[in-house]
């Protein structure tokens, strides 16, 4: 078993009487990319802000490499690279000045990595931050999060604002980080990137983690769409107790959580004219959990 790098224990956050997140627990192992998905208001940002100690937890603890992460723990902060969803930096500075400023917070020399990232992401250091487009601001945020070569990356919607070419450059950066053993907490609502880059995924709904699973397993086992045409489809609906999506004459479409083997055995009891079995995409799963 690999080392546990991030551990969240029973994290709960209430804003007065309003629930932010409730009883969130999860463990991230060294070198894994953990996708954290959920719609707006589900509690993704609250979780991240609690991890980063920007807000006070109502209860619960966050451990980084088995040590509790308190707000003034500078040693742990050095190990974390953080990219917020909305990047707000000092508008009066140029990109170069901002990066110089950032370098001074770290004991080790991080200039070489900075140059490498600036070159890969093609960012003009002479520009003033207030003149940067959303995409370029995001690139600067990525450089700031990555340049001190942290062991942990906490990324909140990192690709929003990046063009498709830069998104691919960014995915390549992530792959390299993963190979180095960096642990990545990746919050997003772009589901295609979760299936592309994440090892595991956590689904958050109304402040609670409703599922944590390997992305492959989630896609394999969770949900199947079946479209079948049969004269006695009324009996099928009744016997199998399935969740109907559409129904038209003798053709029905339904979704089910049954394993494929069990599903085929059950369907084989009927006379079927036509059948189509489809694996759910991550988007389908997302809608399934949230509807």
């Amino acid at each position: 078993m690999k080392n546990c790098v991030i551990e969240i224990q029973n994290l709960t956050k209430y804003y007065g009487n309003v629930r932010g997140v409730e009883n969130i627990s999860l463990r991230l192992e060294e070198g894994e990319i953990f996708g954290f998905i959920g719609p707006n208001g589900a509690g993704k940002s609250t979780t991240i802000r609690s991890i980063m100690n920007l807000i006070n937890k109502t209860s619960g603890k966050v451990f980084i490499e088995n040590k509790e992460f308190n707000k003034n723990d500078v040693e742990i902060k050095e190990k974390i690279g953080y990219l917020p969803s909305e990047i707000c930096l000092y508008d009066d500075l140029t990109v170069k000045e901002m990066l110089d400023y950032h370098e001074k917070f770290y004991k080790k020399n991080i200039h070489k990595k900075r140059e490498e990232l600036v070159s890969v992401l093609q960012l003009d250091e002479k520009k003033k931050i207030e003149d940067l487009s959303l995409g370029n601001l995001k690139k600067l945020g990525i450089i700031l999060a990555f340049m001190h070569e942290p062991k942990i990356l906490i990324l909140d919607e990192p690709t929003s604002g990046l063009d498709p070419i830069m998104q691919n450059v960014f995915y390549e950066l992530l792959k390299k980080e993963k190979q180095k053993g960096t642990t990545i907490f990746y919050s997003t609502h772009i589901l295609s990137e979760v299936s592309k880059i994440c090892d595991r995924v956590g689904i958050i709904k109304e402040g609670s983690l409703i599922k944590i699973e390997k992305v492959d397993d989630l896609l394999k086992n969770s949900l199947t769409f079946v479209t079948l045409t049969a004269k006695d489809n009324k009996d099928i609906i009744k016997d199998m107790n399935v969740d109907i999506i559409s129904e038209e004459e003798n053709t029905i479409k339904f979704k089910t959580n049954m394993l494929h083997d069990e599903l085929i055995k059950k369907i084989s009891a009927y006379k079927i004219d036509r059948i189509l079995i489809e694996e759910a995409t991550l988007e389908d799963l997302f809608l399934h959990y949230y509807q």
Binding site: R49, K71, V74, E75, K77, L89, Y90, L144
Partner: protein, 263 residues
């Protein structure tokens, strides 16, 4: 972080210092012609017609405006106290809160620094700029007064120091109040209110015995100008009180900021 803080706050420091220096430059340029004219005697006679309480409120009962130094001791220091007070209030309410208002705190919180070090860097920067402002104005006025004629140098030096006491306390109180909100626009009005309310309480407190108690709730009581003019000495109690109150509010700021939700 400290250098950046100094750089960020330099522009407003320069503007407020320029306002003060500009004001006194005009005084030094205009005053010689006033003194040498016959009007000064008329003005002095006119002053005698004001009620004693009124003159006392502006230190005119113990000082005459027949010289540049005389003016400085009366109206001049009103401007110095008010302008350094307003500057300190705005600086205190803005210096820490700006990071939250501009949402740059999310960045600053992610780099390896403690909250205590963020607050301390900002406090030191604020104190330095207040001291610099008072020092620059003092040097400028010293040169101006020297060119204008004779004056009591010891009294002047002591008078020059006094705005630091009230300004530091205003800075510390406004800094502390800024830990109760996330938006600078909420604190700017309050900080200006504290300065003006304090000043008027001080004026009213000097107008009669029945209102004298008000001086105990005015920050400007700590800038012990009247005592300096009469006794050519600063009351050590005021120094201790200023430093003590400032430290209490700064410690309060550290304590509050440590527990504050930053977004």
């Amino acid at each position: 972080m400290f250098r950046r803080e100094m750089k960020v706050n330099f522009k407003s420091f320069l503007i407020w210092t320029a306002i003060l220096v500009g004001l006194f430059l005009v005084v030094f340029l205009v005053y010689p012609s006033i003194i040498n004219s016959a009007n000064i005697q008329m003005m002095d006679e006119m002053m005698q017609m004001f009620p004693e309480e009124m003159l006392k409120a502006f230190n005119m009962d113990i000082s005459s405006i027949d010289s540049a130094f005389g003016w400085l001791k009366t109206e001049g220091f009103v401007f110095v106290l008010l302008i350094t007070g307003i500057y300190s209030g705005l600086l205190g309410s803005n210096i820490l809160l700006k990071e939250e208002n501009d949402k740059t705190i999310e960045y600053l919180n992610s780099v390896p620094v403690t909250r205590k070090s963020i607050v301390l860097n900002k406090i030191i920067c604020g104190i330095l700029y207040i001291v610099f402002m008072v020092a620059i104005l003092s040097i400028f006025n010293f040169i101006g007064l020297t060119l204008s004629g004779n004056f009591d140098k010891k009294m002047y030096i002591l008078l020059s120091i006094t705005p630091i006491f009230s300004s530091l306390v205003i800075f510390a109180i406004c800094l502390f109040l800024s830990t109760f909100t996330h938006k600078t626009k909420k604190t700017l009005g309050i900080s200006l209110g504290i300065v003006f309310a304090s000043y008027f309480l001080k004026i009213i407190s000097e107008m009669g015995e029945s209102t004298e108690f008000l001086k105990y709730i005015s920050i400007f009581t700590l800038a012990d100008i009247r005592n300096v003019i009469i006794n050519v000495a600063i009351n050590p109690l005021m120094v201790i009180l200023s430093i003590g109150i400032s430290i209490i509010f700064m410690l309060g700021t550290l304590f509050r900021y440590e527990k504050k939700e930053l977004v």
